[in-house]
Subunit: 305 residues, 4 copies
């Protein structure tokens, strides 16, 4: 880790000249790891474009697009609202992420991105595992099959943490035993090493991995809107929130429009529009006459009443 810090410092020390557009917000955090969960991080390693690039692409212009910031903002809000997605595809970001494998499995469902993952066929994984904080150990939700309910009690929590730690480390210890690496202290000359691609199958899903992830701004916002959302699993939501922060630094105007039209917006169904209309007209509407499902009714209530 010390060595990686040195490498990061070396990169941050060396300024280059460029004719390209720059995002001053991102330059400020480039290469530096933002910590997340117990051992994860997110660090921006490269990017292309800024708010002005979106305007320029939308206009197919020779120069910088509009002259005034207020015009830029208006156009960006218009584009995002009307789902003109291609101008946002013109910006790119490349991020180095350290994350547990079970999160990596959710993350990779977003197909419109490029990924280079640390290869456990080729290299050896480190002994790092995600162990939740005690107050994040939630019960199975009784109402939502894929959600969390209340916190666990103290006794069960302690047992769960013990299990998670012991199983992770035991599996890892056996992993290294099977690898029997020449350079390790425990190397036993008299027995053969199991191939890396096989030994790794003994590791648990909370083992940390790393990857480079590259994605355009449009798909980045889509990722954030899904993963910073309350329906997503707590652990990936923590990454989603960091991405939201990165968005605010990269393209501040787009970030503000994103809050209005994506993150804090809502979609009303045909039936819900009718309900709202009646309510505005001062009529009383009950769930039974609303044509909405229980769940839709509840969401409507919590949003508007």
């Amino acid at each position: 880790m010390k060595k990686s810090n040195q490498e990061i410092n070396a990169l941050r020390a060396k300024k280059n000249q460029t004719l390209r557009p720059v995002s001053s917000g991102l330059e400020g955090i480039l290469y530096s790891p933002l910590k997340v969960l117990d051992k994860g991080f997110v660090r921006v390693v490269d990017y292309m474009g800024n708010d002005a690039s979106i305007v320029q692409a939308a206009r197919v212009s020779y120069g910088k697009g509009t002259k005034k910031k207020s015009e830029d903002e208006g156009l960006i809000r218009y584009l995002l609202r009307h789902r003109h997605t291609t101008p946002f595809e013109m910006c790119e970001i490349k991020i180095h992420v350290k994350l547990p494998i079970f999160i990596a499995r959710q993350w990779i469902r977003h197909r419109t991105a490029s990924i280079n993952e640390y290869s456990a066929r080729y290299s050896i994984l480190e002994d790092e595992f995600y162990i939740p904080k005690k107050n994040h150990l939630a019960q199975q939700s009784l109402t939502n099959k894929q959600g969390r309910g209340n916190e666990l009690d103290e006794v069960t929590s302690n047992k769960v943490l013990k299990i998670l730690k012991e199983d992770s480390f035991r599996c890892y210890k056996n992993y290294t035993w099977m690898l029997n690496e020449k350079n390790s202290k425990e190397f036993q000359k008299e027995r053969a090493s199991l191939s890396r691609e096989l030994a790794r199958i003994n590791l648990t899903l909370n083992t940390y991995t790393q990857w480079y992830w590259k994605i355009d701004l449009h798909n980045f916002m889509h990722f954030v809107s899904l993963r910073a959302d309350s329906h997503s699993q707590f652990e990936i939501r923590e990454y989603g929130k960091l991405m939201l922060k990165i968005l605010s630094k990269w393209t501040p105007l787009t970030y503000k429009a994103f809050l209005s039209y994506r993150l804090n917006s809502t979609e009303l169904s045909m039936e819900a529009i009718e309900v709202i209309k009646k309510m505005i007209a001062g009529k009383k509407v009950t769930k039974s006459k609303s044509n909405l499902s229980n769940r839709e009714w509840k969401e409507l209530e919590s949003l508007f009443l």
Copy 2:
């Protein structure tokens, strides 16, 4: 498993009429699981198109395309050879796969496919793990960092198998303990259940999962050419081979062209072309004068000499 057999039999018993083109080869195996590894399977559950559909799309025709099978074959070979990919994209296949998680992680790198995976946030995984056969327990290759070498010796093999089995089952047992499911025999009323999305992080990477995988014929062939190849890990190669068999049943003409122009073809670099030219002209070429790397030279030798 009995229940799933009944469901499969019910599906195979019910014939429907359709005006669509049919692949008689695929109809013969539709819904039936083809076994792979110790507990995995592959079963085709739906498809669209056959060899004639490729011809029809390439011709943008009203009817069936060409009349003669020989013309169809000629055109298909031409299209595949010249990498006219879109006519092959016109056929689709949907496959139900049961596979260990570490293979699923390789598989999903193919982004041009649709996947619905069994959700361990929502449901509970079964106690099924991939345990390699003894003769597949290979040493780490000494020459290829991501490959396998010779078989392990008897003693080490036995220890490795013992580890893999014990760790899988212990982790699984702790998984069910943390889940503390109401319907299970071991249910303990007095303590809370950990949410499923958290409990699963204790499982090992050789645990089996399942998914529906849908892909077009062009990308299916790309998958097969990479995964039935000797560079891919043995375990996913076993799936790749089954896919090759499915290809032969689905579109027999395309299958034959695929053998010629993809699976058993080779790419010669600019430098290798020069070497071959000299060899054909009867000149002696040595590695040192070939401009080829060691590895390229070896591959050339093994292919042509």
Copy 3:
């Protein structure tokens, strides 16, 4: 055209047996052209899956998914509402379309589809051009830079139609003159033929072309939601409407959910939610205090007041 009718009748006359799921609605129109604009058509030539396939994929089940239609409908509505897109990606449709080139240029912006277009490098285009009906000749909108306003007056309309017809046909006549095809009546032995790939550059953008278009149900709905929308150009909207009809025949349950949650739904921004809240609470809200742009305010008014 007579010949193509014969081919279509031949295809519709031949029933095949299959074990695959069937959409009876689509079987009823398979291969038959649905007319659109003056000379265009849309004809479904193949498909995969039906409403039940979506349920089956979402459940990753061995058999047919749920037993009851009402459960299927509930799940489909849930999936569409919560933008679980992958189960809808499990169904595919293949459509033969005849359309003017300027529409083809809008259409192809949807990248998640496979296309085989009639090649004017290889073959000769027919003398068919889109000539709008007189009542579709609209003025440039004064308020919307990319929209239409009122109808043109009679005199200008007639002149416009004359121009469109004459220019299309003159360009086409010169196209065939340059092609100088051996089999044509006007063939002149003494002069050479210009290559097809060059001659075609003289044609106008209203010339009809044809293609095979294949897309999954999720992306099909996305296409329909954009192209059946009032913001899209009238000519492509006519195709969009036919696609909506095809959707209703293919997957009736999905179609109904699509009307509720996509086609007739609306997205409320963070700011608009606040406005609606106040209105429901009986407070008076004016545009100036709404934080909405002119356009957003107008849309809100037309929807809810």
Copy 4:
């Protein structure tokens, strides 16, 4: 055009500081138009990454990857040869292109890119058309249905050029007549303007359009390998050649590997491998005994004999 030159000069005059990796080759041509055909151009407007970024991504490293240029080169060659595509996806380029519509229609078939095109629904196209040089007016090939043969004779050439020019300009003149723009000299107050989205359908396919095109390095190379190839139409090949030049400036090591393993490489079919083997062994092989088609045999001859 003067104005656009000023804008370009302004962009080239303003240097920014960045911590990001830089490609000195691309900085040298950033924003400047490279001319192509009679009125087209290609100008790089932004990029992300350089040769070192590929290495860094492949290694999933904290710092710059390898230290020595020779190691970088070896790894890049290895990655390209073995079709490890994701590290190349980590670099991006954004290019402003001016091109005739018939080329735009070929270009856009590459789906893995982002495009913002100048909108003729919203704005007015200029009176610029692609008119081939006389020596590029080729006859239809007699052997290849989608190719060009010899040059046309002088008399026919002159007639063809006259047609192309006259038809383009007449259609354009009628386009502006129908538009009847307020700001134009020919504006007639007494008659209405046809909407832009309709008027444009009268234009010919050689009319120039413009777009912003953004693509990653892997897909960029795929584009170049197809479009700089002799099978592609001359006009798009001219653009392909400029892209090859851009590649050489952007990532010189990747460029060299690309020449070896893509642009100047060849694929040998299973059958062709057998032929080559025999030839190397000094045996005489005739076409009839080769199992190759006429075309394949010819290509083999021209490459190796």
